[in-house]
């Protein structure tokens, strides 16, 4: 055996064939996305990018600016928190109505038709709420309530309400049904059965998921700022539009730090409340 034969890959034909096929499939995607990386490197574009990036160092850090940033960071967190509270208020009734464990008619045979229809409606309502991204809601709501945090809070409330509602219902149904059903059979009310039968098994998971979503809401509330919902995102949008590199880099650093802190906080909360 020579060295050439030893390094021969018996499957090369198949591999090259798959790669070629992928390249052919990829071609339309490159055309559709106007994939022209060389345009980034033409002289004019490089000049403006260079000027923008040179401004990044040092980030702006005068007291007045930092004070404003502190305020806007708090607003970002507050928008996320308020939005999540609103989402929670939307999600709890949706989840309670759509959870099949709360069904009394299904204790004896099939669920009755009326309650079944109601449960499916609640389930679909959650899916529909969640299927429109919060950014689109914010874009539309800014027209109605004007610029400012209200649009952001309601947008997060609607989309996250759907998400939480759907996942809460799934978590509630994944639990052991026996305890809840025993309570219901013995004449407990639905809420009693929920609080003493279902909730104790699922509370850790429910809290964990809610805290995780709070973390997502913080990231999302920054993005919502780009359509005028206030907070860090709006500042970043303004700074980018004015080519203020020093401000952009400062806001990016604050934002990365905020996400990291929220990440830690959420891990800590999940441990503490679990």
């Amino acid at each position: 055996m020579t060295a050439v034969a030893a390094s021969y890959d018996p499957a090369w034909r198949g591999r090259v064939g798959v790669l070629l096929l992928a390249a052919v499939l990829l071609w339309p995607a490159l055309v559709w996305t106007e994939f022209k990386p060389w345009e980034v490197f033409d002289a004019q574009s490089l000049k403006s990018t260079g000027r923008f990036l040179r401004d990044f160092v040092p980030p702006r850090h005068d007291p007045e600016f930092l004070h404003l940033m502190l305020l806007q960071t708090w607003r970002t967190v507050a928008i996320a928190t308020d939005g999540l509270v609103l989402a929670f208020l939307v999600a709890v009734p949706l989840a309670l109505v759509s959870s099949a464990q709360m069904s009394i008619s299904s204790l004896s045979g099939r669920m009755a038709r009326g309650p079944y229809a109601l449960r499916q409606t609640a389930r679909w309502a959650a899916i529909v709420l969640r299927s429109i991204p919060e950014l689109v809601w914010a874009l539309l709501l800014v027209r109605v309530v004007g610029l400012g945090p209200t649009a952001g809070v309601i947008a997060i409330g609607i989309t996250y309400g759907g998400m939480l509602g759907k996942v809460y219902a799934e978590i509630l149904e994944s639990g052991e049904a026996a305890g809840t059903q025993a309570l219901l059979r013995n004449g407990a009310g639905r809420l009693q059965a929920f609080f003493y039968g279902t909730l104790p098994q699922c509370s850790t998971e429910l809290v964990g998921y809610t805290v995780y979503r709070w973390e997502c809401a913080i990231r999302s509330s920054v993005v919502l700022g780009f359509v005028g919902a206030g907070g860090l995102g709006q500042e970043l949008d303004n700074a980018t539009k004015m080519f203020a590199g020093a401000e952009v880099s400062a806001i990016l650093i604050i934002f990365i730090a905020l996400v990291a802190i929220a990440d830690r906080m959420s891990a800590w909360l999940r441990k503490e409340l679990g």
Binding site: A29, T33, E34, T49, R75, P133, R219, V222, D237, I256
Partner: protein, 267 residues
């Protein structure tokens, strides 16, 4: 013994109480400090305005040329998400290699640096990347694709790095002791092991990226989002409504497909 257990239990419970009290304080402070305009949102005349606003969306613009344009934007969105995810998967593997300690005698000198880079890429959302890239790459789907690629590189790179570290070192070691080059060790021992995870993570991110690509255009980065913000800015509500419908259908289709795929695969 029992008393001690009870004390520990009581203290643990009270810790949770304090945490909950803190959370309530956070919520109260958040509502207190934000200038939320509930009155403007819920007042009767505001509701009338809102109803009129909602009414302007009907009927959606369904003329053939407009539907054709919307369909094009939809394809553009899909292409952006697919290409962005593919680039991210390739870059993700490239960065995941220095970001992981693959064998016991791997010095992993660049691990902290590579991990930091991945974290930075990941913690900036696609939309923010798109807004920044508009400066370098101009308007259109190209900066959108790059934005998706950058954020997703951060996400996938981290996941790939973890798969690399969890791969069994045996096969790679067997090749390495025979003097096979590092590139071949990776291609013939490590990559085949992590391949299933690479594929499933990439598909999962693609699903997310389709949703993200649909709204990315709001800052001017192509696809359905750009059409949406364009027609909304011109107050062409019937056109806006068609684009919204296309978006909802796209998201619903992706959701349904992924649900079916999951059911199939987990059976």
């Amino acid at each position: 013994m029992n008393v001690l257990a009870e004390q520990v239990f009581a203290r643990a419970r009270c810790r949770a109480c304090w945490v909950y009290a803190g959370l309530v304080a956070l919520v109260v402070a958040s509502f207190w400090t934000l200038d939320l305009k509930w009155r403007e949102f819920l007042a009767p005349d505001a509701l009338v305005t809102m109803a009129r606003f909602a009414g302007e969306f009907f009927p959606p613009q369904m003329s053939a040329p407009f539907l054709f344009r919307t369909g094009n934007a939809l394809l553009e969105t899909l292409a952006m998400s697919a290409l962005g995810t593919l680039i991210a998967a390739l870059l993700g593997i490239v960065v995941a290699l220095p970001a992981s300690k693959t064998s016991a005698d791997d010095p992993a000198l660049f691990k902290p640096l590579a991990r930091f880079m991945l974290n930075a890429l990941r913690s900036i959302p696609e939309l923010v990347w798109a807004a920044l890239l508009l400066i370098a790459a101009g308007l259109g789907p190209f900066p959108g694709t790059l934005a998706l690629a950058l954020h997703t590189t951060g996400v996938l790179g981290r996941l790939f790095a973890e798969s690399l570290e969890n791969a069994t070192p045996g096969p790679a070691f067997a090749l390495r002791v025979r003097g096979v080059s590092e590139l071949r060790v990776f291609l013939y021992a490590t990559l085949p092991q992590i391949w299933p995870q690479v594929v499933s993570y990439t598909l999962y991110r693609w699903e997310n990226n389709i949703r993200a690509a649909a709204v990315l255009g709001v800052v001017g980065a192509g696809g359905l989002g750009q059409m949406l913000s364009y027609h909304l800015a011109l107050f062409q509500m019937r056109e806006t409504s068609t684009v919204l419908l296309a978006m909802i259908i796209l998201v619903a289709l992706v959701d349904a497909l992924s649900y079916v795929a999951r059911q199939r695969l987990s059976r």
